[in-house]
């Protein structure tokens, strides 16, 4: 976002654009990354429901797709809550940069 001066800012600290935080990518905070293993996924969507950063992408059919790594902060809630298939988790946490 380009630098703004007081003359160009809206008065009273009003933010005129809804959902503008999407321009601020929080993915750089992450030190561990979730990995989605599609064959173990039962499409329960618990990861989507419990993600605090709205970083689980869901397509038009309501099926989950890969993570949105631009915003995922790597908390690991999805991996812990993932029921997986036959005891095998569909989301595992991996160290970033490996």
């Amino acid at each position: 976002m380009s630098k703004k001066f007081w003359e160009t800012l809206p008065q009273g600290s009003v933010v005129l654009e809804a959902g503008s935080s999407a321009k601020f990518k929080t993915g750089t905070w992450r030190s561990v990354r979730p990995k989605w293993i599609e064959e173990n996924c039962i499409q329960c969507l618990f990861c989507w429901m419990y993600c605090p950063d709205m970083s689980v992408k869901v397509n038009a059919e309501g099926k989950r797709e890969d993570f949105n790594y631009d915003y995922c902060k790597g908390c690991g809630i999805c991996a812990l809550e993932c029921p997986g298939k036959k005891g095998k988790k569909a989301i595992v946490m991996e160290e970033e940069g490996k």
């Binding site: 503008s20 429901m49 309501g62 690991g76 809630i77």
Partner: protein, 318 residues
């Protein structure tokens, strides 16, 4: 407006009204709660926010995570602010200046902005009978400013203003039961919810929006920084809080209390305390009596709640 069906697949196709890019800590419980609340309904919503983690990190100059009209004015007056917005809206509709789109009004506040600082404004708004809903996300301390105790901090918890050490073993006082205090206002709907039980939480939001008048909902919101737990256990801990009856899920509709989720098997409170570093000192041998007291208090509260449900005859409908 018809009530939205709560099917995950259908919900997932909808648009988020609370978006990513907010700067809440990794693994915070509050954004999960806000997302679930806004997802539960298709009504247009206007929200106000008390100062707190949620406010400072979702709305930083030029960046907002909200896709709904949202206002913040001060710490103590989230309820007064939204009651003013609601009164203005009603007046404009009455004057014929705008058409009535069945807008719903929500105030979000943390436990500091609800239990302590915003309490008189909340109590006032409830008493005046505004058509609004107040949602408190209770993380049990002033987490935003560095984990100072609040009146929602549980007995025995270690915070920076009641540090566990040689003098005191954590917070010496009991937490206050705000949900029951709000129920004592005689308002049409009061509920307690947990983000782990999303269906229950969203049902309560839907129910509340169909009721005219002031509503209050208290939601447990794990904070891994303040609770000294791991970043991935927000949902696990809110589930444990319900299973140990530390945070029973119930609602009070027109004075009638009903327990909405009864744990299949009541777990010992130690299961909830153990993963949290703020209770670490309670497991030292000299504090064993405190653990027993916490368990005894929870048992008696749970007993009381069940007796009340039995009194109203709502316990069979589980």
């Amino acid at each position: 407006m018809t009530t939205k069906p709560l099917k995950l697949r259908e919900l997932a196709k909808g648009e988020d009204r609370f978006t990513h890019g907010h700067r809440m800590c990794s693994g915070c419980g509050a954004p999960i709660i806000v997302k679930q609340v806004l997802m539960a309904t298709d009504y247009p919503i206007i929200a106000s926010n008390a100062t707190g983690c949620l406010e400072v990190s979702t709305c930083i100059q030029q960046y907002t995570a909200w896709k709904i009209p949202w206002i913040h004015s001060a710490f103590e007056n989230a309820a007064a602010t939204i009651s003013g917005v609601e009164a203005m809206y009603k007046s404009l509709v009455k004057q014929g200046k705008i058409e009535d789109k069945q807008v719903k009004f929500i105030a979000f506040g943390g436990d500091g902005g609800t239990y302590d600082i915003g309490f008189q404004s909340l109590s006032g708004a409830m008493e005046r009978g505004h058509d609004m809903m107040y949602i408190c996300y209770d993380n049990g301390a002033y987490m935003n400013t560095g984990i100072q105790r609040s009146s929602a901090t549980p007995f025995g918890a270690n915070t920076t203003t009641c540090p566990a050490g040689d003098i005191i073993p954590g917070k010496p006082q009991q937490r206050k039961d705000l949900t029951r205090i709000m129920a004592a206002h005689g308002i049409p709907y009061v509920a307690q919810a947990s983000p782990a039980h999303w269906m229950d939480l969203m049902k309560k939001v839907q129910k509340a929006f169909e009721i005219k008048g002031p509503k209050f909902m208290n939601v447990i919101s794990p904070c891994n920084r303040g609770w000294r737990s791991r970043t991935d256990d927000a949902i696990m801990l809110s589930k444990l809080a319900v299973d140990t009856c530390y945070w029973p899920l119930y609602e009070v509709e027109n004075g009638v209390l009903k327990i909405t989720v009864k744990p299949k098997e009541k777990k010992p409170i130690v299961d909830f305390l153990k993963p949290q570093g703020r209770f670490k000192h309670l497991f030292a041998p000299e504090n064993a009596a405190m653990l027993l007291q916490i368990q005894a208090d929870i048992d008696s509260e749970w007993e009381k709640l069940q007796k009340l449900a039995a009194f109203y005859g709502t316990e069979e409908k589980q």
